[in-house]
Symmetry: D2
Amino acid sequence: MTTAQALTGVIPPVCTPLTPRYEVDTGSLTRLVDHLLDGGVDALFLLGSSSEAAFLPDRHRRVVLETVVGHVAGRVPVLAGVIDMTTLRVLDHVRSAVDAGADGIVATAPFYARTHPAEIRDHFRAIAAAAAGRPLYAYDLPVSVHSKLTPDLVLDLAAEGVLAGVKDSSGDEGGLRSVILGRRDREDIGGFSVLTGSELTVDSALWMGADGVVPGLGNVDPHGYVRLLRSAWAGEWDAARAEQERLLHLFELVTVGRGRMGVSASALGAFKAALFLRGVIEHPTTAPPQTPLDEDEIARVGKYLAAAGLV
Amino acid sequence: MTTAQALTGVIPPVCTPLTPRYEVDTGSLTRLVDHLLDGGVDALFLLGSSSEAAFLPDRHRRVVLETVVGHVAGRVPVLAGVIDMTTLRVLDHVRSAVDAGADGIVATAPFYARTHPAEIRDHFRAIAAAAAGRPLYAYDLPVSVHSKLTPDLVLDLAAEGVLAGVKDSSGDEGGLRSVILGRRDREDIGGFSVLTGSELTVDSALWMGADGVVPGLGNVDPHGYVRLLRSAWAGEWDAARAEQERLLHLFELVTVGRGRMGVSASALGAFKAALFLRGVIEHPTTAPPQTPLDEDEIARVGKYLAAAGLV
Amino acid sequence: MTTAQALTGVIPPVCTPLTPRYEVDTGSLTRLVDHLLDGGVDALFLLGSSSEAAFLPDRHRRVVLETVVGHVAGRVPVLAGVIDMTTLRVLDHVRSAVDAGADGIVATAPFYARTHPAEIRDHFRAIAAAAAGRPLYAYDLPVSVHSKLTPDLVLDLAAEGVLAGVKDSSGDEGGLRSVILGRRDREDIGGFSVLTGSELTVDSALWMGADGVVPGLGNVDPHGYVRLLRSAWAGEWDAARAEQERLLHLFELVTVGRGRMGVSASALGAFKAALFLRGVIEHPTTAPPQTPLDEDEIARVGKYLAAAGLV
Amino acid sequence: MTTAQALTGVIPPVCTPLTPRYEVDTGSLTRLVDHLLDGGVDALFLLGSSSEAAFLPDRHRRVVLETVVGHVAGRVPVLAGVIDMTTLRVLDHVRSAVDAGADGIVATAPFYARTHPAEIRDHFRAIAAAAAGRPLYAYDLPVSVHSKLTPDLVLDLAAEGVLAGVKDSSGDEGGLRSVILGRRDREDIGGFSVLTGSELTVDSALWMGADGVVPGLGNVDPHGYVRLLRSAWAGEWDAARAEQERLLHLFELVTVGRGRMGVSASALGAFKAALFLRGVIEHPTTAPPQTPLDEDEIARVGKYLAAAGLV
C-alpha cells in the first residue's frame, strides 16, 4: 500500500455531488473519481471541507466511502475525513472509515468546545489508537476550527508515531516551513508527509520541501495540478510557476457568489458549477443552508473556465 | 403542553453523567433529573453545551433523550439540543428528538462552515419545518459557533413563526435588551420566550424583561436559581440580587482546572465534581479529550460548595 | 476635589466639535460643556473614544483640555483620556493632561504591540507613577485594544493603589459584576469607582452596584442619563428602567450610516449630527478618514430625536 | 533617487537602540546603520514595528529620522514609518518625515477606531496627498491593526497613483501572489513595488515575483538576507533556499522570552540582545512596558547566533 510510505503528490479533496433532493449522486461521484484518476492524481481525500463533509449526514458519508472505495478498487490510496466536534464522535467516523476500507484517516483539532493544546494532543492520540493501523493525517484548518496546530505539536506527534502527516490549510507558510525543517532536523521522525492545502502557493510549498497538495480546485482541473507537480519534481520550476499562475487566475471563480452568500457556499458552489459545466457531474447542487449560485453566477464560472482553457 | 405558551423560569441544561468507560450513566442521570425537579425547575434542556452534547456520539444522545423523557413523564417540558454543524446533520437530530418525545428543539447557527446571515435564517427555517410542530429555540453562542445572532435576525424569525424563543448565551446584554424591547414593540410577534444563558446576570436579565434562565450552574444548585427567580417574580429584587451574588461566588468553581486544561473541561469537570461530591452522580467523568480534574482540583470544588452552604 | 472620593454618577465622554477644516471648534465645545452641565452631569471625560481622541492630533488634544478645564473652572471634575499605543507615548499625554489641570487620567491597555498581562500591569503602574497624584482610571475597551482587562488584574491594581477606578466598556457584565463584588469582598481595596461604559444597561449596572456611567449618548441627552441615575439612587427602579428603555430606542441613531461607513463613523457622526440638530454645535463634522453622514442620514437622526422627545 | 524607480532588495526595518533611560542611543544607531550598509542592504526603513515605533514618543521619532538621514547622506533611500491611529495624526508624522528628508513614507491602515474599506482608501489618499511627492508604501499588518488590505484595494490605489508599493506582513501568501499577478496583468499599474515582510519565506516570495524584503531579522544578519537576494536574482535558487533555511533556524531566537512576556517584547528584545552580543549596539534595552530579557534569555540568544555562525 502506497500509504505505508510517505504520501506524496496531488490528493484532491473530492467534491460530493448531490441530487436536487440532497442525496448523494453516486453516478456523478464515480464520474468525478474517473475524471480525477484520468487527471493523474496520486490519491483521493474523501469527506474533507471541499467535500461538504460538514454538511453531510452520516449516511451520506457512508455512501461516499463505499462508492469511492469500491470504484477505485485499490488503484490509488483513498483517505477519509472524520470531521466532527470531539473525540468520541470522531471515533465513530473512524470506525466507519476503517470498515469501508479507507487507506488513511484525516482529522482536525476539536472544535465548538474550547480545548487546551494538551487535549488536542490527546485527541489525536485517541484517533490514532482507533485507526487500526491506518495512517493518521492532521488537518490544520484554523478558519474552521479556530485553533492552529503549532509546528511543535505536529512534530512531537510525528515523533510519537501518532501522525503520519499533516495537511496544512492554515495559510501560515512560516509554520509550514518549520514543520518541513523540523522533520528534516529531528532524528526521531521518519516517513512523515507534509501536504499543503493552500492551492495558490503549491510551487513554493514544493520548493520548500512539501510532499504534495490537497487542492479543492483540483476537482475542477486535476490535470493542471498534476502538471504542476510533475514539473516541480522534474526540476522545471518555471513551468511549475506558470501552471500555478494559470490556476491562481482560475481560482478566482470562488468569488462569484461573494456578498450574497457565505464564503463556503460561493467556493463550493463554484467548484460544483464548474464540474457541472465541464460535464462531469449532473447537478451543481450544494447542501443547505448554502445559497445556490444563480444563473448569472454559473455563467461567470463558465467564463473563468474558458479563460483557463477548460472548455 | 406548557411549551405552547411562552417558556419561563429555570431551565437547566442537564449534565450528562458518564461511566468511567464513557457510557451514559442512566442511573445517575435519573438521579440528577430528580435532583433538578426537587429543586423546582420549570423545564429541562437536554443535550446543550453543558450536557457535553458536542462530546457525545449519537447513540449517547438517544439514550439521554429516552431516559429523561421517560423518567420525567410529562411533569415538565423537556427541550432537546440538536447541536451539529449544518442543516442536514441537524435535521437528523431533530427527527431523533421528536421521535423520543421532546417538547421543544434548541439549535445554534451553523458552524465550521462559513455562512452568511441569509443562510443562517434559512438554517433555522429548515429546522422549524422539520420540527413537527415542536417549538424551536435559537441558541446564541458565539464563543462556540463564531457568529452572533443579531436582534433583527431573531425578531424577524420570531415574527415569521420560525422561532418560539431564544437562549442568549452571547453575553451581549445590550443585544438581549434589544430583543426584549423588540418583542414588546413589534406587533407581529407574540408568545416569544427570551431566556438568558448568562448565569451571573440573571437578576438583571429578569429586570430587563427576560422570561427565564438556562444556567449550567443550575445543575449544582437548582434550588438557588429557583429561589432567585421566585424572588424576582415576587418583586423581591434585593433577595434576588443576594441570591445571584451567592451564586456568582459559587460559579468560581469553574476555574479550578484553568491553565492546565481547556475552559470547557474545567467548567464541565467542576459541575460534575460538584454533583459527585453532593452525592447526585456516581462518577465525575467527563468525555475525552477533556482533561479530568485531579484530586486537588476536586477538593477545591468541595470548598466552593462548602462556602455556598451546599454540603 | 470630588475625585479624591470615589467618582460617581454621569460622566459623559465629551464629543469634540470640529470646524469644516478639522480644527477644534472651541465655541461649540464650550456650548457643549454648558449643555452637559445644564443636564446635571457629575463630571466630564475629555479625549475618550467618543471624543474622537484616536482621530485628534496632539495640538487638538491640548486645545480641548485647555478650553474645557478653563471653562469648567472646577465646577465638576474633568478627566482626561491619554489614548496612545504604549507607555512612553502615553506618559507624554499624561504630562499634558496634568499641566492643563485635569483632575484624573483615563488610560487603556497598550495596543498595536502584542503585550503580556504582566506588561499591561507595568503599563498602568508607570502611568500612575507619572500622574502627579491624579487618580488613574483603567479604560477596558477590547473592541479597540484587542485585549480584555480581567477582574483580577483590575482588582490587584486597585489594591496596589495604582487604579482609582475602571471604566468598563467591554460589554462583559459578568466580569463587571466580579469587579463589583471583588471590591466589596477584598479588604485591601477602598474607594474604588466602577463605571460602566455600556450605555444600554445602565440601570442593571447600577443595580449590580456600579457607581456611574460614561455614556457616549450622554452627549445627546445628558438630562436623560441624569434622570436615570437620580431615579436609581432614589430607589425608583421602574422609573430608571423606563428612562433606560427610552434611551435604548434613541441609541439606534448610531446605525444610520452602517454598511456605507465604519462603526465609529456612523456612531460618532450620529452623535454630532444630533448635537448639530439640537443647536448645540455648529458643524456635524467628524475627523478623517471617517465618511460624513449625508443629508438623508442626518434627517434620520432627526427622526430618532423627535421620537425621543428631544426636538 | 532610487525610489523614483520601484524599490527592490533588502530593506531592513532599523531597530531603535535605546539608552537604559529610554532615550535614543544615537551612537549605537549610527553604528547599526553602518552595520546594515556594510551588509549591503538596498534601503533602510525607519520607525517600523521592529523599530519599536509604537513605543517611541514623537521626539524620539524625530531624533531617529534626523540621525539616520544625516548619517546615510543619500547613499541609500531612507523610508519613514508614520505609524499612528488615524489620518490627522498620521499626517503630522508625514510632515516630520518629509521635513527630515525621508525618501519615502510607509503607513498602515487606521487602527483603534473601527473603519470601513472606503475609509481605509481615503486614509491612504490623504497621506499620499500630504507626502510632497514622496512615494507612499502601504504596510499590511493585520496582527497589529486588525484589518487586512485586500489585493483589490492595494491594486486600485496603485492604479490611482496613491501607492508606490506595499510591504506585506500579513502572512497571506495567496494574497501576496494576487497582488504580484494583478500588478503584471493590469495595464493601469506601473512601477509598483511588492515587498514581503515575512522573513521566513523570502525565497518563495521572490520566486513568485516579489521585489524585495523588509526583514526584522535583517538587523541581526543583514549579510545573510543580502546573500539570499543576490542568489535569487542570479537564479541560484538552491543557494537562496539554503540561506533562507539558515535564517529560519536563526529566527527561532525570537522565542526566548515567550510565555513570560509579550510576543513583541520577546522578538524585539531578542533582536536587540543579538545586536548587543554582536557588539553593534551598547544596550539591549527595549521600551516599556516590554519586559526585558533576563541573563539566561540573552545567553540563549547567543547560542542561536553561534549556531548561525555569527560569533
